[in-house]
Structures are given as structure tokens and as C-alpha cells.
């Protein structure tokens, strides 16, 4: 009881900060193993697809492989070649990792634990999606700086290609989700999930009213085109196959990370996987109902601890499904050519996304 009194004596702001710190530690502590095991799952799955065995020696089924990889990355020689631009060379891997972690802030990964009003989201910002896009745009700096800093042709070409690709698809990505927010009427990501669970604010009072909902109220069924564009743009933004031109091994060796070794190389790798995981999380939140399931009352915020944990589990499960999709696509599709990639972004997706906005606007206008 003594501990609870101490907690109750804090001002609301202090309590808020304390809970935030706990949530951040919790979220990062969950994200890190997911990144590590995403790499293992990728290697095992690709081996399975190519009829090989894959890493299975470290621990049962190779389950300790991520630990071994981490130890290896730390113990390898941290080599800084003579020809690089030193400051940027050191800054680039960190700049690649930081935005990837920052995107975590606005993603609602669960409802709440028990009866408390603590929503399971690190920062429930009212500008939610704008924050995400702002931070995701910063990700391009790490890669461009890496390409520039290494002072080597492969890195430079990889960095340039990557910047062109990432900024091109950012427009398509930004436009594709606008119809979603026209329907929801808020940029807050918790509001997007509420909308998909049928909790729509009343126009006069602003209080949430429960409408009937089901699987079909997920936004993927209301905005399939938006989801498709967002999905493809997410592949391009995270530099994954079929759009992995920045690091295409056959022509650019490794692209922007050619001159990197040891932990700096590993940071680029972790940054990429963190981006993949967080864009999966974004897709789950925006289009697949986030932590809700339209059965057994799971679309309502939790009223007990077990249900709260179940919501987090549902969210992680949906996210894992997208992660598998990312990996599956990587080993199934060949790489695009550079002009095809730019063509798809600028000539196909931007007009399509614009048309989607106009059609949604007209539909809502006619209905009003």
C-alpha cells in the first residue's frame, strides 16, 4: 500500500511522465527482440523458399542466432577508412536508426491495461499521422549522408538512388491516406481505430457513439485503393524488394552501406527492419483495425488486465502477418528497373491517389 500512496501523491503531470517512461521502456523492450527475430525469420523463410535449411545451429531451431549475430557485430573491427568524411560517416548510422525508433511514438499498440485511462500509445498526438510522415521523411538523411560520407562510387550511387526513390514515394504515400482521414475526420491514430471499431464522434457533442461494426468497417474494405498504394509505397520507403535499388547487390554491392563495418553496418540493418516493422504497424492501424477484432467484444477498450494484454497480442499478431508479407514478397519478386520504379511512383500512383481523393470527396458530398 505504501507504494500506491507514493504514486497518488504525485501531480497528474508527474504521473503522466512516469507512465510515459514505463510505456517507452516497455515498447522499446518489445521492439528490439522483434527486430532481432525478424532477421532470423527472414533468413529461415528465405531458406525455406529456396529449399535450403537456413541458420539452425545456434540453439534449438537457431533461436539464439540473433544473440550470436549481435555479439558478432559488437566484436568485429570498427574500421573507419581513410577516404571517408569522418563526421558524417559516424553520424549516418545513428541518423538511420533514430527516426525509425521515433515513429513508434504515435502508434496505438493496445487499448489500456485494466480500468485505467492510460491508453497504450506513447504519445496520443492529435496530429498523429503528420508526425509519422514528418519523422519518416527524416529517414532519408541517414541514407543520403551515408552515401555522401563514404566517398565511394557504389555508396554514392546507392545514396542518390535512395533519396530519389524515397521522396518520390513519399508523395504517393501522403496522398493515398488522405481519403482515410476524410472518412475519419481526425489525424489522431486512436481516432482511426475508434472509427474502424464503429465508435464515431457525434457531430454536435463530440462524444463517441457506438455504431454497429464488423469486419467490413475496417478501412481496408472502405478504401482498398488507398491501402494498395500505401502498401506499395511502404515497400519503396523501406527500400525492400522489389524496390531495393539503393542496395541492389548485383550492381551496387551493398549501396550506401558498402564502406561500413561492424556495429555501424548492423545499425543500418536494424534501422531497415525497424522501418519495416513500424510500417507494418502503420498499415495495421490505418487499415486493419489496429488492436481491435470484430468478435467477442474485442473491439471495445479493455476492462480487465487480461483483455488489455490480449489487445496487445492481437496488434502484434496482425503486425507479424504484415512482416511475413514483407519477407515473402522479398524472396518472390524480381527487382524493378530504375525508370520503372520512378514511372510507377510519379505516373501511376500520384494520379491514382488524386482520383481516389476526388472520388471519395464526391461520394461524401453526394451523401451529405
Amino acid at each position: 500500500m505504501n507504494r500506491m500512496e507514493w504514486l497518488a501523491n504525485l501531480t497528474p503531470t508527474q504521473q503522466f511522465v512516469l507512465f510515459s517512461v514505463v510505456k517507452i521502456i516497455f515498447a522499446v523492450a518489445i521492439l528490439m527482440p522483434i527486430i532481432a527475430y525478424a532477421v532470423l525469420v527472414e533468413r529461415r523463410l528465405c531458406a525455406f523458399i529456396q529449399d535450403r535449411v537456413g541458420p539452425n545451429r545456434v540453439g534449438p531451431f537457431g533461436l539464439l542466432q540473433p544473440l550470436a549475430d549481435g555479439a558478432k557485430a559488437i566484436l568485429k573491427e570498427d574500421f573507419t577508412p581513410e577516404h571517408v568524411r569522418k563526421v558524417y560517416y559516424w553520424l549516418a548510422p545513428a541518423l538511420c536508426m533514430i527516426p525509425a525508433l521515433l515513429t513508434l511514438a504515435v502508434i496505438p499498440f493496445g487499448s489500456n491495461l485494466g480500468n485505467s485511462n492510460n491508453r497504450m500509445v506513447i504519445a496520443d498526438l492529435n496530429v498523429g499521422i503528420l508526425y509519422t510522415f514528418g519523422i519518416v521523411s527524416l529517414g532519408v538523411y541517414g541514407i543520403v549522408l551515408a552515401g555522401y560520407a563514404a566517398n565511394s562510387k557504389y555508396s554514392f550511387l546507392g545514396g542518390i538512388r535512395s533519396s530519389a526513390q524515397m521522396i518520390s514515394y513519399e508523395i504517393a504515400m501522403g496522398m493515398s491516406v488522405i481519403p482515410v482521414f476524410m472518412l475519419v475526420g481526425s489525424l489522431n491514430l486512436s481516432a482511426v481505430i475508434d472509427y474502424q471499431a464503429g465508435r464515431i464522434p457525434d457531430p454536435e457533442t463530440g462524444r463517441l457513439i457506438q455504431h454497429s461494426s464488423g469486419l467490413l468497417s475496417w478501412l481496408v474494405f472502405k478504401q482498398p485503393l488507398a491501402f494498395l498504394i500505401f502498401l506499395v509505397a511502404a515497400f519503396a520507403e523501406t527500400n525492400r524488394l522489389p524496390f531495393d535499388l539503393p542496395e541492389s547487390e548485383q550492381e551496387l554491392v551493398g549501396g550506401y552501406n558498402t564502406e561500413y563495418s561492424s556495429m555501424k553496418f548492423a545499425l543500418f540493418f536494424m534501422g531497415e527492419y525497424a522501418n519495416v516493422i513500424l510500417s507494418s504497424a502503420m498499415m495495421v492501424t490505418l487499415f486493419f483495425g489496429g488492436w481491435t477484432l470484430p468478435v467477442f467484444g474485442l473491439e471495445q477498450p479493455a476492462d480487465s488486465l487480461g483483455k488489455g494484454l490480449l489487445h496487445i497480442g492481437i496488434f502484434l499478431g496482425k503486425m507479424a502477418a504484415f512482416l511475413i508479407l514483407f519477407i515473402w514478397v522479398r524472396w518472390m519478386l524480381p527487382r524493378f528497373r530504375y525508370d520503372q520504379l520512378m514511372d510507377l511512383g510519379w505516373r501511376r500512383f500520384i494520379p491514382l491517389a488524386l482520383a481516389n481523393i476526388v472520388v471519395t470527396a464526391i461520394l461524401l458530398w453526394v451523401r451529405a
Binding site: 577508412p81 581513410e82 565511394s152 521522396i167 508523395i171 475526420g185 500520384i350 476526388v358 461524401l364
Partner: protein, 126 residues
């Protein structure tokens, strides 16, 4: 809760992320093997060939064009967001105003897009 308090967790997360990223770099410096240096190890990697010319070569002006187009279109996308948020609310009282003004904006955007298209700005093979 006021507007700025919302951002305290973001600030904490920034600190955590920066510490994590640079902490990893420092750990690898502390525990990494110390190897020898020689001239060959210091050359840029070019598949074992002697590097020819500068590391940062001149690049096509095409990439500059991509950057310009990005800035133009991205600003227009940002303008679309506030509209998207208030659209449903505004439809109840000022339906034709909000609809008409945004269709005009999108129309102008589309004309600009067609202009860039016809000028060959999206002709990546050239």
C-alpha cells in the same frame, strides 16, 4: 491535458533513441577488435579493382528535378490534410463551399501535374 504536455513522451523517446543509437556505436568502439591499417584496406571498395577517379561523381540534373517536383507536390499534399480533417464537418453546413474550393485546388494541382508530364519531367529513360 494541454497541447505541449502531449509532446513530453516524444521528447523522452528522442532521448532514448539518441542514447540507443550512439550507445551502440560506442559499444562497438569499446569492444571491437583493433586491426592493423594498410593502404589497401583504406582504398574504397570497387570489387578489387583500383578505384578510378573521384568517389562522388557528378550526377544527372534529373535528380535535381526530382527534388524540385517533390517539394512542389509535397507542399500541396500538406495543404490537403487540414481540408481532409474538416471535410465531413463542413459538409453539413457549407457543403458546396468546401467541396467546390477543394475541387478547384485539386484541379489546379492536376493541371500542373499534366504540364510537368507533357514537358517530359517524368520521362526517366532520357
Amino acid at each position: 491535458m494541454d497541447q505541449l504536455t502531449q509532446y513530453i513522451p516524444v521528447l523522452i523517446l528522442v532521448v532514448v533513441a539518441v542514447c540507443f543509437a550512439f550507445g551502440m556505436l560506442i559499444i562497438s568502439v569499446l569492444f571491437g577488435q583493433k586491426g592493423r591499417r594498410d593502404q589497401i584496406k583504406d582504398t574504397p571498395y570497387e570489387c578489387g579493382m583500383q578505384p578510378v577517379g573521384e568517389g562522388s561523381t557528378r550526377l544527372s540534373v534529373k535528380f535535381y528535378l526530382v527534388a524540385m517536383l517533390f517539394i512542389l507536390f509535397d507542399i500541396e499534399v500538406v495543404f490537403l490534410y487540414p481540408w481532409a480533417v474538416v471535410y465531413k464537418d463542413m459538409l453539413r453546413d457549407h457543403a458546396n463551399l468546401i467541396f467546390g474550393s477543394m475541387i478547384t485546388f485539386l484541379g489546379i494541382l492536376f493541371v500542373g501535374y499534366i504540364y510537368a508530364l507533357k514537358k517530359g519531367a517524368f520521362d526517366w529513360k532520357r
